[in-house]
């Protein structure tokens, strides 16, 4: 059997893909499998799930990086200071070890999230009431400060003054809340 992709090398792998109930079988060689980026390499076993798929997706990322001739040699070695998980381990299981991992591997995270969440990288939605109280305020303040800048740039000083007052009052509330939490 010759590889159905390159029609040159002998096929060593058989892929059975079932996408939405449609079954397709492909016989290809190892090289094409890697090039095609089909990540069902070690699939077929029981318990194949979204996480395996994801692990495959992440693996592709690191494959690309490897081919860039050690341009990012440190990503493989970096470990999360809290749970000691390495990026490689994360890629292997497709799961993070702790909340800190999100910070540790922040650089690699955006492309992954984009792919999984159709282009989104930032949360819109619920903010926890208690711990999120100040986060919400801070977000508002940041937004207003942006507005302030544009008003000043466009020389709309009256509007700018209004916004500035709002920012001040919010900042006061913010400081009060922060102080309250610390005491």
């Amino acid at each position: 059997m010759i590889c159905q992709e390159c029609h040159q090398r002998p096929a060593t792998l058989q892929f059975t893909k079932i996408i939405n109930g449609k079954k397709t079988e492909v016989m290809i060689c190892e090289k094409c499998a890697q090039e095609k980026g089909d990540i069902f390499m070690d699939a077929g076993g029981p318990g194949f799930s979204i996480n395996n798929l994801l692990a495959g997706l992440l693996n592709m990322e690191s494959n690309i990086q490897q081919t860039k001739a050690n341009a990012f040699p440190k990503t493989e070695e970096r470990r999360c200071p809290h749970c000691h998980r390495s990026y490689k381990e994360f890629v292997h299981v497709g799961k993070f070890g702790c909340a800190e991992c999100y910070k540790t591997f922040n650089e690699q995270l955006n492309p992954i999230l984009k792919r999984v969440h159709s282009g989104n990288t930032a949360h819109i939605g619920k903010i926890p009431k208690r711990i999120g109280g100040t986060i919400y305020l801070r977000k508002q303040i940041l937004d207003l400060k942006e507005m302030l800048k544009t008003h000043i740039n466009q020389e709309e000083f009256e509007k700018a003054a209004e916004v500035r007052d709002k920012v001040r009052s919010l900042e006061k509330r913010y400081e009060a809340l922060e102080g309250g939490e610390e005491s």
Partner: protein, 358 residues
């Protein structure tokens, strides 16, 4: 134990209650994934940490959530018999993964089984709410009440930019998975399902058969859920899913109408044959049972069969699972014994609804 009593004990409220669009939508489910701050995720934590998390939750549930929700009962998975675990899985109250991690895991159940909170599954908490029919918004409301109530005393792992942090990046952001279980015999019989599934996928939603990922749709039952959890608000996720589900409901209804109009006698024949099998078979496998139950349920919805209650599909779907059969039998059964037991249970069940309704 009499079957009646057994059934009564076996059913969760979503199976017998009557929700909106109940002829097509069996249930609505909301799941929120949450983790505690400063603890490693269950994928890599120690048994000590696992215990601490269970203790924290235990302390919290000594109080009543709200008068409507009442108190939650804590089950340590380790303490359960293998059969009991299996039954909880078959009722979709806990996941097979939680059972695998028995030593470290626990779950909280409300009395009517509308609420189940898995502890130390893939994430520290998986808050799940299940209601009958299409009522995702209401279900989300309850999940939010629980979420806020827990957050009152426990700090969640939350990041301003990324939202609720979860073990798997596929859940990060809202941590919300909304899903709906639908009975779609009309679309399957008219062979429209193969066109509809890709269309649904393009909207960022996932369709699967009910029993696990990638499994065939047993008994024409499909589960539809959101894939994206990041960059979309909870409300939008639920509203988008609801509107897609309403479209599918409309399509299913028109498929059923078309079937009745064009092949009335064939349909009637099929339904009553299935009814015949269920009321007379002495040996029946899961697959055949599921197909026949689906036909009978369609017969009830379309008015061909009048003396059986609608909830029969929900009930039998769960009751004919291996775990339940063995629990009913009072001990482990071999596969062929289960097929005999399944046939007996279905016959009895059909008989007692017929005798109680006449």
């Amino acid at each position: 134990m009499s079957l009646e009593k057994f059934v009564e004990n076996a059913l969760s409220s979503w199976m017998s209650a009557e929700g909106p669009e109940i002829d097509i939508v069996l249930s609505s489910r909301i799941r929120l994934a949450r983790n505690f701050e400063d603890f490693t995720f269950p994928t890599s934590f120690s048994s000590d940490e696992a215990k601490k998390i269970i203790e924290l939750v235990k302390k919290r549930i000594e109080e009543e959530v709200t008068p409507e929700i009442g108190k939650l009962e804590l089950l340590e998975i380790d303490q359960l018999q293998p059969l009991e675990k299996r039954v909880l899985v078959e009722k979709h109250l806990i996941s097979p993964h939680l059972v695998e991690e028995s030593a470290k895991s626990a779950c909280l159940l409300s009395e009517n089984e509308e609420i189940s909170i898995m502890i130390n599954e893939e994430d520290h908490l998986r808050i799940q709410c299940l209601m009958s029919g299409l009522q995702l918004k209401e279900t989300l409301k309850i999940a939010n009440v629980l979420d806020d109530w827990i957050e009152e005393s426990i700090d969640y792992a939350y990041d301003e930019e990324r939202g609720y942090l979860t073990s798997c990046p596929t859940n990060v952001g809202t941590g919300l998975r909304a899903s709906v279980m639908m009975h779609l015999p009309g679309l399957v019989l008219t062979q429209q399902m193969n066109n509809i599934i890709p269309a649904i996928n393009q909207l960022g939603l996932v369709v699967r058969g009910i029993y696990g990922e990638g499994s065939q749709a047993l008994g024409n039952i499909f589960q539809i859920s959101n894939q994206i959890t990041l960059g979309k608000s909870e409300r939008d996720i639920v509203e988008d899913l609801t509107s897609v589900v309403q479209q599918i409901i409309a399509q299913e209804r028109s498929a059923r109408d078309a079937l009745v109009r064009t092949s009335h006698i064939q349909l009637e024949d099929r339904i009553f044959r299935s009814h015949g099998i269920l009321s007379n078979a002495r040996i029946i496998e899961t697959k055949e049972a599921a197909t026949c139950i689906s036909d009978v349920r369609l017969g009830i919805d379309l008015g061909y069969i009048k003396d059986i209650s609608k909830s029969i599909l929900n009930e039998l779907m769960i009751l004919t699972q291996p775990g339940f059969l063995q629990k009913y039998a009072g001990g482990p059964l071999k596969s062929h014994e289960r097929d005999i037991r399944r046939a007996a249970l279905i016959r009895e069940r059909l008989n007692f609804t017929e005798s109680t309704s006449s």
